[in-house]
Each structure stands twice: as C-alpha cells, then as structure tokens.
Symmetry: D2
Subunit: 302 residues, 4 copies
C-alpha cells in the first residue's frame, strides 16, 4: 500500500465501449498516461469517473484495472459513493478487495440527514474497513457542507485521513488549514487550484487533470516553490481550457457536457478509444466534439 | 399481478433487529396489519422504508417478504431508488424477481442532471423491465422537481403509469390533474392528504399510514363520497398525530426522529418487535419514545 | 375607518402614464370597478401594485386616490414595504395620513435578519402608528418564512390583526388556522384560493382579482356556502386565465410579464387607459398583448 | 470630485445616539480616523453602514458629514440602496446633492426580477445622475448574482465604473479580471481579501476595516509589492479578529452580532461614543461586548 501525501490526484474518467461496458484497454492506457505525466495518485470512481452511473460490478472492475496499472507506483483512491452508511460500507469492503489504498466517502445523501449524524457515519465506515478515509465535501451533490468542527473532530480522533474539498467554500477550506489540527486538504477545483494551494492545500483533484495532467503538475510545482505568478499564469491557461465543459450548454445539462468533453479530449489526445458517456447523459454531437478539439488545439494539447 | 388504481398505499416501514438485520417476522406482521386495515397497496423500500439505508440484499428480501404476505391481495410497489439509470435498472430487475407488481423511481440524483435528461432516464427503465413504472417526485431528496410537461409526455407515451408526488407543490399537482392527459397521481403528504384528494388525486402514500392506516382509510373514504368536512376533520386528527415526527427535534435530524417515531408507534401498537433504525440515525431515547406513546394515546390508538 | 373581516381584497394595480407618472384617472376607475364588482377591501401598494418600483410620493398619492374612491365603503389597506423597521415606520405614518385603514408589512429584507428579530420589528411598527397591522408573509421577496410561533405570539399580544400568506406553504397556513389563537388569514394565491378557503382562510388577496374580480367573488361565495365543487370549478377557470402571466416568458422575467399582463387585461376590459409598467420591467410587445386578450376572450371577459 | 482608483475603501459604520439619531460627532471622528489610517476612499451608507435601517434623511445627513470631513482628500462613495430603479434614482439625486463622488447600486431586489432586466436598471441610474456608478454584487441580499456578461457589457458601454464584489464567487471575480474588458473590481470580503488581490482586484471594501484600517492597509501594501506571504499572514491575523462578528451567535442574527461588534470595537478604540444599533437588531449584552474587547486585545488593537 502506498501513502497519499499530496500532489495532483485526478478523478479518473471511466472509458466505456459504445455498448456502455467498461473499456478496459482504454482505462489501462488512461491510468498509464496519468502516471507518466506525473500524477501523485489516482482517484477512481469519483464524480468525474461517472461513479453515480456505474453499476457495482463496473465500479469494482474499474478499480481493479487502475490498481493493476498503478502497481504501487502511486496510491489509488476509491470513491465509495452511496446514500448512507450501510451501503457505503458494502462498497468500502469491495474497494479494499479490489486494491484500493484509501477510501473517499461523502456525507449521506438522498436520505435527509443532519450534521449531528455525520460523525457516526464516518466513524462507522472507518471502523468497518481498515483503510485511510478521506471525507469528500461536495454540497452540490449531497446537499450539506461538512461543518468545520466536524472535520476537525474526526481528524483529531483518527477517523479522517484527509478532506477533498469540492464545496467551493474557500473560507471554510482556509479555516481548516489555519486550525491547530493538521488536516490534509485536497482542492477539487479546476479553476481556483492555485488559490487552494496558496491557502495551504496539500493537493489537487481536478477533473480536467485527465485531459491536461502536465498542466496541473506545472501549476502544483510552481506553487510548491512559491512562484505564485507562474502558478497563476498556468491556472489562467487551464481556466481557458476548462471552457470545454460548456460545449453542450443549452442542449444538455452541464455535467453531460463536461463528461462528454473530458472524454472527447482524451480521444483527441489518443489516450482512449471512444467518448461514450452513461445513460441518461446526452452525447456530444459533431459540432460540440469539434469545439472540444478546438479548445485543446488552442491550449497546445493537439 | 395486481393493478394499482388508487387508494391508500403506505410506504412500509422496514423493521430491523437490534443488530440491524431485517426483522422478517415483524415485517410480516406489519404487512398483514396494513392489509387488514384496508390498505389498497403496499409500497416497499420507499423513503419511509429507509431504502437509502438498506443494502441491496436487505431491500430485495424485504420486498419478497411483503410480496409473500400480500399474495396478490393488494399490489406491491417497489422503490428502485438509486442515483442514475444503470443502477436503477439493476434494482428494477431484482425487484421484479422478488415479486414487485410495479416500480417507483425518482429522477437521477447526486449526479448533476438536467430535466432534459429525465425522459431518457424513465424510458430506459421502462424498456429494461416490463412492469408499470411510477415516477417519484421528491425534490427534497433529488434536488429537482419533475416538470409538468415531462410527466405529461411520459404519461402519454406509456412510459409512466402514475406519479407519486412528494414535492409539496400543490399547484403542480393540480396542473397534472387538470390536464387533458389522464395522469394518475398519488399524494405523498401526510398533512394535506385531504387537499390532494380534493384536487383530484387518486391515492395517498402517507408514511404515517404505518401507524394509523385506518385513519387514512377514513379520510380517503370521506373524500371519495365528497364529504370534505369529514375528510378535513380526520385530516386535522392525523395532523396532530403527525407531531410524533418531531419528538427528537433539537437532538437529531428530523428524519431520524420521524423514522424512530413511526417504528416506536408500531411497537406501541404491538405490530413490530423493536424500534431500531439504521446507522447513522440517532435512536430515540426513553423520553422521546414516551412522547410518541403519549401522542398515540391522545389519538386513541393505544 | 372601516374594518376588514374577510373576503376578496385584491392588491390594486397602479396605472401609469406613458411617462410613468401615476395615472390618477385610471386608478380612480380601477378602484371604482373593483368596488362595483364586490371587492370586500382594497390593498394598495402591494407587490402587484408595483410598490417596489414606486417612489414614496407616488405610493402615497396612489393611496389617497384609492381612499378617496373607497370613501369608507370598503377598507383600504396600505402596503408599507421597505427594508427594515425605521424605514417601514416612515411609510406607515405617511400611509395613515393618506387615509389607510390598515397597514401591511413584511419581515425585514435586504438586511440579513433572523426570526428572533421579527417580533421587535412588528411591535415597533404597531407601537409607532395606531392602525391594524397585517403581516405579509412573502418569503420569495424577503428570504424568510414567518414562523408559525412568531405569528401566534404576535396575534395573541395584539400586535397583528391578520396575516397575508403569500408563502405557498399550505401546511403552515393550516397550522395557523388550526391553532387555538384566532388568527385571521388571507391567502395570496391566485391558483389555490379555493384550497386556502377550504382550510379556513378568511379571505383572498389575488393579483388576478384586478382583471376578474367577479370570478373571485363567485369562488369566495361558493366556498362560504360549502359548495366546494363550484368553488373548484371557478378556480379551474381562473387558473386558465392566470396563464396570462406567462405571455412574456423567455423574453423577460416572470414578474414583468405578469404586471404587463394584468395591466393589459385592464386596458382590454376598458378600465384603465394604458399598460405601462415601471422601469426596468420589459414592456409586452404586440404579440404578447394579443395573447393576453386571447386569454381574456377565452375566459369570457371580453 | 476625486477619483477612486483602488485601495482600501471601508463601508463606514453609522454611529447612532442612544435615541437612534445620527451621532454626528462620532461619525466625524470615525471618518477622520479612517482617513488618518490611510483609507483610499470611504463608502457611506453601505450594508455595514446599516443603510437598510436608515431613514432617507439619516442616509443623506451621514453622507454630508463624511463628505465634509473628507473634503476632497479621498473620494466618498454613496450606497444608493433601494428596491428598484425609480427609487434608486431618487437616492442617487440626493446623494449627489449631499456630496457623493460616486454611487454604489445593487441589482433590483424584493421585486422579482430577471438578469435580462439588469442592464436597463443600471443604464437608467447612470443616465439620471452624472456620477461614476459602481455595481454592488451582493446576492445574499438581492437574490441574484450579477452575471459576468452583464458586467462586461455595462463596463464596455461606460455605464459602470467598477464592481464591488460581495458575492463570494471568486471564480466569477476572476472571470471579470481575466476578460479583455478592463473592469475595476473591489472585493467585499474581510477574510479572503488577499486572495482577491492575488486574482487582480483593485481594491477592498472590508467592514472590518472600520475597526482595523491599518491592518487592511498593510495587507493591501504587501499585495501591491507581490509579497503574498506577508499579505497572507496579515490576512490570517485579520481572520482571527473577524471572529468578533460571532459574539452574539445563538442569541441574535449574525448581522446584529456583526454590527454590534464593529461598533463596540470602535467604542473600545475610542473612536465613537456608543455602540447603539438600529431597530430591530438585538443589542450586544455585557458579556458579548467583553468578548469583542478581548478579541481586539488579542489582535493588539487596545
């Protein structure tokens, strides 16, 4: 097992065949591509991995494939995303069996819950499966922000190993990083990654890192040496590239558009075979796929 | 297979042993109790059934148990609650195998989606498993209201058999019922059930119906014969009883409190053995359980 | 001074000249039209009166004009709509001087407030100006729902004379009406007015009542005699007419569209001279005005 | 008239006598204190100035007082905060007469509006009163975020002179600053001021600047010379001090607590005479006032 300390840890896309089966060869190539480009870890079955769309068996197979490619070179994190504790624990057990080095779990969702119930949730997961546990703070999906005091308490008592912050709440991120408790924080933002590192975050989990892993490594390295001007310039370039997520705006939801764009970008870069996304996402049409390629060309990636 | 036309169709509680295994005996007694009290159907693995907390195997076992007790006397609906289409379809297949007469599915959740993607979602479920499909409109859990035009389109083309409306949007419910398309609607409200029926709804799906099924039958019958004063008076009585859901307020989330209260009510009435709820819900304490019994006594149920 | 007991009390539109001055003649005709059609009171400078768009002097002049026409035949309520207590009190004094029989005030807005501060707000207004005070519950505009217990407390201690409920929360409305405190409630809903009366509300404040006052009187009278089928049928007719508020959808905000439609409806019925709305609302174009007239024709109003 | 280019421009508190009249002497001392401590401008009748609580006459008098003290040394900005265009224009005229160098206006509020109506709103204000116009982006108060494209359009056509961003949306702020249109941006954040400057913002509008103006000048100067470590350290110190806004938590709304704390801080520093806030805000009690002083002492301000 390898240990995740920091760095760039992209949420790995899940390539699908036209029949919407897992495209194992493409996933192997993607994992290798990301490792070669300097990723410090790989996050499988995260939101960008279409985890909410994958049947259990596909989730675990994707994890096995990536763990096989990683082979201990970098840690492999598994998203164990489900509505509540008992269901998350089922995934956690399967993820450990499939080779995960750490688990990433959200607060409960769908079921109305209350922050007073969050500690019991994370503690039960941690107790059930002996792997480092990372809290995934993603209010847009689960409807709750993880309160600062809950994260601090669960870090102090050893339940949590780190936090992945996709809340967009930089004040909250900073509160964690300024506390006396040594919370390791990963920013999930593609577009304020430099700011996250400026505030002291230990690493990044950018979905766009699938398409331009080297860009995020440059940003991360610049930040590490305190060269904020260079980090900011790289961020500005990546912000432009990130506009690919809007190619389908007006014709589909933003997430359909973003998933289609990331996958089309990987096709354009020769990493995966096809850009198929899950049902009921709406596929990009030819114009939209062309727009993705145009953005990549402008970013110097083609 | 039996057909659901209307009436009172409670979302059946899922009794658990102290070890949080399915309490099969209690579930059998509960199903029998509900049928004896005149329920027109049983909705298994709905929100009140703690569906979001049940591992797959528990979900399907609960369904088998209830289908076994129902034995064709009343239709059994199965909640196939999961984040997106591919995962819902897995549940739908299992539910059919376990004896469901109809399926109840929500819009996608967790994954950011857009209403433009909802028709594809419901159509794919309906195409994959040949059972009547009921759309479950529950924005508080999934973050989206089902748009009126989507429901009408999917009813007209035969995808949807009915709608369960837990949106609280009575204007939207009325828009469905006033349209030229014959949409069958079930209100999920415990506290405005009479209003739903006044607007033309065909049935009710009240969680509180576990505890007082006869009360909701009286309300439904009064409404059927147009005796709105009697329906309103029964509703007022049930509204008072519904205050049991707040017994844990201040110490836990409202859902923990409500699930605990429904189960404690069933224990008090001698229907199930214990009031255990799922992790991470906070259990009611003795004072809170006493408050539940007090409410039941005042409602004439003990 | 006349006393408001119940009935239909429309929020009176504020006719403007093309130069966006108060059109006094039109307002006089509108007030007379509403009284002739059986309105039980008139609510001036409410949301439908474009109160948020009217300079102080226009507000008070409109009130004087309507009070002059009413001349004690029906009570005249004045919306005293502003951000917080000290500013509301200024309006309240001016409204009393201009002839108001009662005041209608919301919770504070713009300034972040908390329900714990609402009692002080309403009590200070009541203490400053000796007129009956009606709480205007309109979360969509002020960001807060008036809590049930606040309304009950302020009714019991004599601060509030009534509540105008534009919250859309029928469960909350029913909680007020079922309490032991005799709270007089007016529903602000155009489309669930019959339901509000079914729940026991004392009156209605429908913006659409400007255009079809007789329709709401018929609905109200049917409800008073317990003829819910007739009330519901009238409501269904009015719901169809209410679609006029959407004539500008896609080209403007819904409120621009609704204000334009109400005024155009009054022009079509020969009550006011022109349909000008306030800046920055977008005016209806000819097609949209034609659609308004079409709806009125279908409703039998032309 | 002086021109605002950038720098620290605090929203000036409005001192009140115990009878809640404007405390002119205290306001004069506060304005002088802020200028002496290096403020680059003064923003009168902003949210921190309790603008939503001040009757018109108090608003304009406060502006006159501050303009008199400023006497051309620094520009004086006036918040012209009201629900919609016609009412804002009334304030704008009065503010110009009272000596304002620039105007600060929000999007319409209370009245439901739509972004398509925002350009007309700002253009009408700019056309009515010839002073530089600053858009105040404060979704928490008005319910809408100013869309990036609206701000860019209105900057390009000369309507807007600058934007005050209190939206908390750093991605949106960055989008403005990265555009080809030279938008001058002021961050309204007390706690991410360094980040705002890192992203290229031209200035700061921190409410806490009333209490510690020198701190924000140090932060601003450090950022100007690119010393982000020094800026970040100063920000961390100011973040600790900012905890004063929570002294009343649990007993009042957060805004009551913050206004009380800022004013008590100014009393403790000997700048103003009393800490009275407007009705219906709840006053700090002795314990809470003590907590404010404790925070100031820890920050080295007493």
């Amino acid at each position: 097992m390898t240990q995740l300390v920091g760095g760039v840890v992209p949420p790995v896309c899940t390539p699908l065949t036209p029949e919407r089966e897992l495209d194992v060869r493409s996933l192997e190539r993607l994992a290798a591509f990301l490792i070669e480009n300097g990723m410090h870890g790989l996050f499988v079955t995260g939101s960008t991995g279409e985890v909410a769309y994958l049947p259990d068996e596909t989730r675990y197979r994707a994890l096995e494939v990536v763990a096989g490619v990683a082979a201990g070179q970098v840690p492999v994190l598994a998203g164990v995303i489900d509505t509540t504790t008992p269901r998350v624990i089922e995934h956690a057990k399967a993820a450990k069996a499939a080779g995960a080095d750490a688990l990433v779990a959200t607060a409960p969702f769908y079921a109305p819950t209350d922050p007073v119930e969050f500690p019991g949730h994370f503690r039960a997961i941690r107790a059930a499966v002996d792997l480092p546990l990372i809290a995934y703070d993603i209010p847009v999906s689960v409807g709750h922000k993880l309160p600062t005091d809950v994260v601090l308490t669960l870090t102090e008592d050893g339940t949590l190993d780190a936090v992945k912050d996709s809340s967009g709440d930089l004040d909250g991120l900073r509160a964690l990083l300024e506390s006396d408790v040594p919370v390791r924080c990963f920013s999930g933002s593609e577009v304020l990654a430099d700011v996250g590192l400026f505030l002291g975050a230990h690493g990044l989990v950018p979905g766009l890192g699938n398409v331009d892993p080297a860009g995020y490594v440059r940003l991360y390295e610049a930040a590490r040496r305190g060269d904020w001007a260079a980090a900011g310039a790289e961020q500005t370039r990546l912000r432009k590239l990130f506009r690919i997520i809007g190619v389908g705006d007006g014709r589909m939801g933003r997430y359909s558009s973003a998933m289609g764009a990331f996958k089309e970008g990987l096709v354009a870069r020769g990493v995966i075979t096809g850009g198929t996304t899950s049902v009921p996402m709406i596929p990009l049409n030819e114009t939209e796929r062309g727009a993705v390629r145009q953005h990549l060309a402008e970013a110097g990636l083609l």
